[in-house]
């Protein structure tokens, strides 16, 4: 199921946290970076992953060796990066007065 995700302020925050450097971040890291509560964050991550904008994997270490549950690490896909940039461009351009004339 690939549904185009809704572009909202929190969605942009999540993409903004993941886009620079395209690092892999866990849910807790993204929550810290975006200041989004868990109730808002995880539905966004879920939708973005379903849309193919994000991909995720479990961290490599064994949870028994770590002594804690494994973290799920998220990163932006190529499609996600392109779509996010296009969405941001659409939103930001008119704010700077660059109105598109027909």
């Amino acid at each position: 199921m690939s549904v185009e995700p809704r572009i909202t302020g929190p969605t942009l925050k999540v993409l903004g946290a993941l886009l620079p450097g395209r690092d892999e971040l866990s849910g807790a890291d993204i929550s810290r970076a975006t200041k989004l509560a868990s109730g808002t964050l995880y539905p966004i991550l879920f939708r973005l992953e379903r849309a193919g904008w994000l991909e995720s994997r479990w961290e490599d270490n064994d949870p028994k060796a770590l002594g804690r549950p494994r973290r799920r690490l998220y990163r932006v896909t190529e499609l996600g990066a392109q779509s996010a940039r296009a969405a941001v461009k659409d939103l930001v351009e008119p704010a700077f007065g660059r109105v598109a004339w027909v």
Binding site: A28, Y42, P43, R71, G97
Partner: protein
């Protein structure tokens, strides 16, 4: 003897306090786990295992038991939202589809009728814009509507060659008039016709709705005041005759 009792009492209090604090600590660490399990139970079967582990790891990363509880509490709404999303994708709701199709048809018919009705006015405005200043008749504005960015078509009300952030208030004379009369919004009917936006979200419809509520709100308040006065009068009369 008093000293011995005092020491014994202190020891008992210390032991009891220790037991209570351990108990409270256990209970407090149980709450996030319970909240996660509760949240996960709202999820579709396929998502439960993964999200339970992921959410447990997030809670584990939080410092302090109250922060853990706060994060875990958020999973209740997250689970409902995820579940709703998964359900809406897997089984298309017939009632919703029908409602959408009906609204779309009404929007198209309404927009077409309004476009025909306003066509002479729109042509006149377009001619005024074209005659007064160089540039196209229409301009576009980007908005966020229901979570997606879309471009709406408006009548141009600014000079084309001065489109810099500092010149943003360079409104043409025709532009000032059409903005005052809200006529610059009329071409959004084209967006309605093409299905970008619903007629119910047209700015002019919003304006009419606000006026409507304003008018009826005032009437209602007045009626309510009069009813209260009548009631007071009725009670005063009854008291007098009783």
């Amino acid at each position: 003897v008093g000293l011995i009792w005092g020491v014994l009492g202190a020891i008992v209090i210390a032991v009891v306090a220790r037991i209570i604090s351990e108990d409270v600590k256990d209970w407090l660490s149980w709450i996030p786990r319970h909240l996660i399990r509760r949240a996960v139970s709202h999820l579709p079967e396929a998502e439960r295992e993964r999200l339970e582990e992921e959410w447990s790891s997030h809670v584990n990363d939080m410092p302090g038991v109250f922060a853990k509880i706060y994060v875990a509490y958020g999973y209740l709404s997250a689970a409902k939202s995820i579940s709703k999303f998964v359900m809406s994708g897997s089984s298309p709701n017939f009632a919703e589809t029908f409602q959408k199709a009906t609204l779309r048809t009404l929007d198209s018919l309404g927009a077409a009728a309004l476009l025909v009705f306003f066509m002479p006015l729109m042509v006149f405005v377009a001619l005024c814009i074209k005659v007064e200043s160089r540039g196209p008749v229409f301009s576009r504005i980007a908005i966020i509507d229901d979570g997606s960015a879309l471009q709406l078509t408006l009548f141009r009300s600014m000079y084309v060659d001065r489109v810099q952030p500092t010149d943003f208030d360079d409104v043409t004379r025709v532009g000032a008039v059409i903005r005052t009369l809200s006529l610059d919004w009329l071409p959004i009917l084209l967006n309605v016709l093409s299905g970008d936006v619903s007629l119910a979200r047209h700015p002019l419809v919003y304006l009419i709705r606000i006026e409507f509520y304003d008018l009826f709100g005032k009437l209602f308040n007045k009626m309510n005041r009069n009813l209260r006065l009548l009631r007071r009068l009725w009670f005063a009369l009854r008291k007098r005759f009783d």
